[in-house]
Symmetry: C2
Subunit: 215 residues, 2 copies
DNA sequence: AAAGCCATGTAAGCTGTTACATGATTTT
DNA sequence: AAAATCATGTAACAGCTTACATGGCTTT
């Protein structure tokens, strides 16, 4: 009935959404492995209930293979030859040049909304701490800035609502309850971030020292 | 390649998930209208940027029609005859007996996770305040209980982690950061709930008075 | 020889999103 | 007559979940 869609909705932009925490977690896990390679089953274990990332993002093995295929399509990983031909055949994936670049870009970018702290930011934090603690410090500072601006804008909105409610007193303050909720959540996230920052600073100093001693 | 699935995954359980805030919001909006009826376009406006619910859950008109069809399938709404045959034809939906029961059940049920406060709980709260403020008070108290138990269990987990970290000092406290985050978010939600409770109590008293004067 | 883990996936069905199609009525 | 608004949807597709299929290797 409708004419066929003029264009498939921009296949080039497939990987351009800011989200995709699962895919980027896979990139990060590959970067954490020596040689930057790993196969699906092994990566899937990193999302199990015992693994640290498993407390933040849970992935069934099927989804891991699905995401790896997508990463391959995007050119962020490449398939390497199977080095150990004993066991059941593996398909080891290796981080590509582009993949490394994309990972770095993503790790420096704070999340825009408070609700994304719980999943996406925690994944970024875990990977940044493991890969390059100085980057984690930077990420935390950027995120602090975002949250502070959010709180400013919510406070302003809250005061506007205050006067409007007194004028008409309709819909029993619901809008203010919503804004208060967001302020509470964002404030809590900010206070938590400050505590995390001091921890991360310790880690970064320790990593810096071991860098220096290695040289 | 695979044999066809033995059973379609339990069509009877279609409406049994605890979630479905959009569908239940539609039930609630119908209940708020005199006669318990409304048509799609009108309901869709209640999810626009100006409407109070629009600040919590945003729905495109297409999704509203989609959900209404599902509610019809579940027997929670029925199609009523179009009473005003002037304008472009409407399809007014009416809340059924089952729909009213389902709405009540859902409104009394607190949400299980902190992350569901932002959307699902706020929808429940809005509808309960509008329909029956005494129910809102009850919902808030139930929700308080859930959050308090959550905080207890997170605190316990937090202390277990503390000792484990001192033992091995591996994976740089990440698990504790995650638990702290959840504690912070849940604590903030609880403090917010307490403030909302006093507001809701005022509304309930006012509603009780107007109930009494109507009698 | 059987049980269980290693390892890679596919199938089928849901939900959600975006965009568009269709046409009547009201306002400018 | 044109534009806006009322009103109801469908098409196309992307994403997620759950379950299962397939087979090699390892341990008991």
């Amino acid at each position: 009935m409708n004419p066929p869609r003029a264009e498939p909705p921009d296949a080039a932009a497939e990987g351009s959404q800011s989200g995709m925490p699962a895919e980027h977690a896979l990139l990060g896990l590959l970067a954490m492995r020596e040689g930057g390679t790993g196969h699906g089953y092994e990566l899937a274990r990193s999302f199990g209930p015992e693994a640290p990332l498993g407390s933040v993002i849970r992935l069934e093995p099927g989804m891991v293979y699905h995401h790896l295929k997508k990463l391959e399509r995007l050119g962020w990983v490449t398939v390497a030859p199977d080095a150990s031909p004993d066991r059941p055949a593996r398909r080891p994936f290796a981080l590509s040049r582009d993949g490394r670049g994309e990972l770095r870009r993503w790790l420096m970018e704070p999340v825009a909304h408070t609700r994304e702290i719980r999943l996406e930011f925690l994944v970024k934090l875990y990977l940044a701490l493991a890969l390059e603690p100085a980057l984690a410090l930077r990420l935390i500072d950027e995120q602090r800035g975002i949250l502070e601006r959010l709180i400013d804008s919510l406070s302003e909105q809250r005061e506007l609502g205050e006067t409007a409610v007194n004028a008409e007193s309709g819909s029993i303050h619901f809008g203010e309850m919503v804004t208060d909720m967001r302020l509470a959540q964002t404030g809590a996230a900010l206070a938590w971030l400050d505590r995390v920052r001091t921890e991360a600073a310790t880690v970064a100093v320790a990593a810096g020292r071991s860098d220096a001693s290695r040289r």
